[in-house]
Symmetry: C2
Subunit: 215 residues, 2 copies
């Protein structure tokens, strides 16, 4: 039933529709693999796109920001928004510029967010921490009341959405395949480096496994 | 002079303004390091954000897409747009959820794009190839006329912009620094894997240096 909602006129993919995947599980996998979403809202006739940390919780997406952020306030007011998550997976070297492309997974969710009420903010922040920094939460103190007051959290229902997966090979014109030109794919992945201790880290505190063994 | 243009009311950074950098050279460095921009336009009162390959050419940004793409057509018509490039550089593990954050570099350019006229499309596509796949162009055949006809290219002047660099350490409350919790940064970088030859690659064609030695 949820998947059927993905077929709205607005999120139907017109270009390269063979890349569209109508499976909610694929959408969830893309959303769960990303760290940063690009979220657009319109303010005074001008669209703005900002990168935001997010988390999926079942059929909703959680976004958080400062009460001082104008765009967060627009989201909290229920402005129409578009949340896009893009995972870049590779460069596709075709034998022509025209067919050169990228491997990627992309999710888009449209809707009007709603503000998460005060009494549910702490739980929502915990879900955000669990997504962005898995394992971290048990090491952190409770949220201070003034921190919660300074944070706006909005949720966006996953109702109108699309997901697109491009994972193929160069798709050259038959006339180009015999050209003496290398063709293939260079995979791209996100690599995590060695953890760098904060300058004010107290002595004797080991790097926890959830930091060194981040998937 | 160009840098002064970044101080428009719309792109002034309200949150954490100390992260804003008023230097055009920093903007250019961020734009030149990215592969994919997230571009927002408004269509029928709904903002849409799509990932797009792009290239900077001096004081303009070039975007290309299919003539069949509704969003490309909106851009070519001169719709107000927002182009955002985000480079995620690290996860910042602070001693509270509230201070946890990310290292990133982010650029935003606002404006109304214009369509690149037919006679300048080939040169613009070459600039896009040079940015996305440096070194590749000399190996590629000329564009076919029908390929150019099927491609829309728009340019967006770099006039109203902002750039933000977050490269710091956890900024914990003094009362939290003595907590027995690890704090620091996990760097993030984009890693390129071993090139994968296309299934239809003809024998005897070596992988070119611009593929193996991609910076």
């Amino acid at each position: 039933m949820v998947a059927a909602l993905s077929a709205s006129q607005r999120t139907r993919i017109r270009r390269l529709p063979e890349k569209q995947v109508d499976e909610r599980s694929v959408l969830d996998a893309v959303l769960d693999a990303g760290l940063v979403a690009h979220v657009a809202v319109v303010d005074d006739d001008q669209p703005f796109v900002l990168p935001m940390g997010y988390a999926r919780d079942g059929d909703r997406l959680l976004l958080h920001g400062s009460t001082g952020s104008r765009l967060m306030r627009r989201l909290a007011e229920g402005s129409r928004c578009c949340l896009t998550v893009t995972l870049l997976d590779g460069l596709v070297f075709a034998r022509s510029a025209f067919e050169s492309s990228m491997r990627y997974r992309g999710a888009m969710v449209l809707g009007r967010p709603t503000a998460v009420p005060e009494e549910h903010k702490a739980a929502a922040l915990d879900l955000l921490t669990d997504h962005l920094l898995p394992g971290r939460r048990t090491d952190l103190r409770a949220h201070h009341r003034k921190e919660l007051a300074a944070t706006l959290i909005v949720e966006l229902a996953i109702e109108e959405w699309s997901v697109k997966v491009s994972d193929g090979w160069p798709d050259d014109d038959p006339g180009d395949v015999d050209l003496p030109v290398w063709a293939g794919v260079v995979p791209i992945r996100t690599a995590y480096g060695e953890p760098l201790p904060a300058p004010d880290l107290r002595p004797g505190i080991a790097v926890p496994p959830y930091v060194t063994e981040r998937p």
